[in-house]
Amino acid sequence: MSLEARFQEFKAAAYAPKKLLNEYKAAGKKVIGVLPYYAPEELVYAAGMVPMGIWGSNNKTIARAKEYCATFYCTIAQLALEMMLDGTMDQLDGVITPTICDTLRPMSQNFRVSMAKLQKMPTIFLAHPQYRRPAFGLQFTVDQYTNVRNELDKIAGHKMTDEDIRAAIKVYNKFRQARREFVKLAGEHPEAVSAVNRSAVLKAGYFMEKPAYTEKLNELNAELAALPASNWNGVKIVTSGIICDNPVLLKIFDDNNVAIATDDVAHESRTIRVDADEEGDPMMALAKQFANEDYDVLLYDEASNQNRRGEFVANLVKESGAKGLVLFMQQFCDPEEMEYPYLKKALDGAGIPHIKLGIDQQMRDFGQAATAIQAFADVLSM
């Protein structure tokens, strides 16, 4: 199969989640929507159901969600609700609603209330602790995940076993491993993986069934690994932010010979950095996996008087061989906004140029972004 044909397969999944959802349902499977961030998707898989990530949409406009939201909320959360209200996701059997930021806290209530009112589907509430690592924090995560587990059991109609969860962890570790490998290879081979294709491959992972996805991705990775060393002559950057999956926006990078060396994006690498233990108590393994997450604007840093995250991202840029960083700033996302000054400080300190692109998912005109990216590419290639 040609590389292009492989990318096409991932694109088909990435751009048409609704079609996949219908297929899963037609095959008699139960499907659970998973909102950002850090939900233990392994449990959905262990329950024998299909998890589908819901991170807003690039093709929708907020209409029905206005009944619940004021305007000053990120489009990711609002459009996620929109899709739950407008029928796009009606076939879901349930949805997990984490509450790790100030938008998702009240939104968890809006999801629960609206889904109950419309008798659409049960919602599964999830609150993560900010103390992830001490024993009491780990225990709290286990307690929360146990709630999620019990609710999933109800929807599945049978009880998952610890063995099921252990098996799921193995599947997910492989899944993450393949994604990490792909991110690395895509960074090494921009001549073969465009920014648009890179994103589609990663995005498809939220919708496809994990074992099938991992298998396809491993095949793609093998082909990429076999390529001769890259003769790429454009500039490489690192992307950062919550999400940047809009193909129209990403095409601007491709058009300007700007490649993504690696990323610090929540929707991409931030969620695949850490694996879970395959032995021992699987619930504790999942709690520990969350505990080991780090360098994220959404997570409390106990060493808060240092600038660990800023420096981590600056190092990521250096080690990846990129020349600069592009920050996609979601409008109204205060966790990202709060950490921007210290990210900037670390980047400036390390002599790494960056630009901040204000975006949201209802953006259709990328003229300004194009100008900024072009100018940035010029600066970096000097």
């Binding site: 004021a70 000053f72 100030d102 806290r105 009240p106 209530q109 205060d334 921007y340």
Partner: protein, 478 residues
């Protein structure tokens, strides 16, 4: 209207002034001063005799003193986006050393450059406004104030000793919130919002100081689950250990119990005062409570605060007997004010209420600060119940409770641009208020600290709409 300040109000003001003065004194003596989020368990800090300041209260004060915009702008210049909560922006600018200051008149030995646009019109002996040669009213020089500029304490401190340094130091706005000491440690409890977590981490980084954190996860049920209580209880022990390390002192059980006792008294007395709004007509203006909140925030664990609320209750009792009220107009309608007020625009908020005879007889801050408990586990549960950490059902229960008890005719909802966790489910709440209580609701857009986000014309229209709806409802009832 001659403003006579009652003994209770005087006492309440003094309590807050003393809290600030004590902290300034402590700092001058080289003692530790901390900054704390408003719903951090103050009982813990009290057990160590620590001086603690409250950035939210400070930010509200700065906003009410009209310096919100210059401080918010200063934060934006540091890279903090203008979507971030205005309190956080003001506080982060302050932590970075930025100050609102009077513009120094360097041509003179002393004094500041007066902003010609400030001040009230000058009146002659007969009380008529004096007009200038340009046909515009002449300003009374006594009421005029200087231009406000941005200062930086770290820049000032870097100057050599001398007159310039002295003058620049003095030029910093003299009110207490702009003279609050810099922190030596921070106490953060994110029960009200998660913005708090990163806000305090930023302060810890800027000032290179320890952060003591209590994480209260969001609640989806009516009451906190036992797991949540256990998780938070463990953090109390953790915080105590950190405070022991910080102060080099042992946790003083007796002091802690004393603080708990006072905090309970303050909470009960606060609730008692809030409950005077149940009287119809009320012996006070609900807006008073917004001012008195400063005491519950900054001095909850202190005997003086509890006593001062007791005194205020005496004042209010007297008002009832005499049929008077602190409300400067007859009460025709009673509403619940949902949310934090727009501090920089308090007079503008009040104006159409006054014009329509509306008293605010219910505020969500009444139950929000009524932390009453009998033991440590109950204390933990109490701290789980902050306005933005409870489920929508609990939030509705609180509000509908006070709406019923305080007999409101309508609800005025502040869609507060600063406060995402608070405003995020208000639309559904509004529908429930109307469905459950049969009362009209009106929403308006504003911001608690950044005056740029408040639209006065929209506000007035919405208040007008609410009045009309309340009028119709009244007529139908008659």
């Amino acid at each position: 209207m001659a403003k006579e300040v009652s003994p209770g109000v005087k006492a309440l003001r003094k309590v807050v002034e003393d809290v600030y003065a004590d902290a300034r004194k402590a700092k001058a003596e080289g003692k530790l001063v901390g900054w704390s989020s408003s719903k951090f368990p103050c009982e813990l800090a009290e057990a160590f005799d620590l001086n603690v300041m409250y950035p939210e209260n400070q930010a509200a004060g700065i906003a009410a003193n009209r310096d919100g915009e210059i401080m918010c702008q200063a934060a934006e210049d540091l890279g903090f986006d203008n979507d971030i909560c205005g309190y956080a922006r003001i506080s982060l600018a302050y932590a970075a050393g930025k100050r609102a200051a009077r513009k120094i008149d360097w041509d003179k030995e002393d004094g500041y450059v007066i902003n010609p646009r400030t001040g009230k019109p000058l009146k002659d002996a007969d009380g008529n406004i004096v007009m200038g040669p340009d046909g515009k009213p002449v300003k009374d020089p006594k009421t005029q104030t200087p231009y406000i500029v941005l200062e930086d304490i770290y820049e000032i401190e870097a100057l050599p000793e001398g007159r310039e340094k002295e003058r620049r130091r003095e030029s910093i706005q003299p009110y207490r919130q702009m003279r609050m000491p810099q922190p030596d440690f921070v106490l953060c409890c994110n029960n009200i919002c998660n913005c708090m977590t990163k806000w305090y981490e930023n302060i810890a980084r800027m000032c290179n100081i320890p952060l003591i954190m209590i994480d209260v996860p969001y609640n989806n049920t009516m009451d906190p689950n036992p797991e949540n209580v256990k998780y938070i209880r463990a953090q109390f022990d953790n915080a105590i250990k950190q405070l022991e390390e910080l102060t080099g002192k042992k946790f003083d059980e007796a002091k802690f119990e004393h603080a708990c006792k006072q905090a309970n008294r303050t909470a009960q007395n606060w609730l008692k005062v809030c409950n005077y709004l149940q009287y119809k007509p009320a012996p006070l203006s609900g807006f008073d409570l917004f001012n008195h909140m400063a005491d519950v925030v900054t001095a909850r664990g202190k005997k003086e605060a509890a006593d001062a609320f007791d005194l205020l209750a005496v004042d209010l009792e007297k008002n009832i007997k005499e049929g008077t009220s602190t409300l400067p107009f007859p009460e025709q309608y009673r509403v619940m004010f949902e949310g934090i007020p727009c501090w920089p625009k308090l007079p503008n908020l009040f104006k159409p209420l006054k014009a329509n005879g509306i008293n605010v007889t219910a505020v969500v801050y009444a139950p929000a600060f009524g932390f009453v408990y009998n033991n440590m586990d109950e204390m933990v549960s109490a701290y789980c119940k902050a306005p933005n950490s409870v489920s929508i059902e609990k939030g509705v229960e609180w509000r509908e409770g006070i709406c019923r008890e305080n007999k409101v005719d309508g609800v005025l909802v502040h869609y507060n641009r600063s406060c995402k966790p608070w405003s995020g489910y208000m639309a559904e709440m509004q529908r429930r208020f109307t469905a459950d209580l049969g009362i009209p609701c009106a929403g308006f857009d504003g911001d608690q600290a950044d005056p740029r986000n408040f639209n006065e014309a929209q506000y007035e229209t919405r208040v007008q709409g609410l009045v009309e709806a309340m009028q119709i409802r009244k007529e139908m009832a008659e």
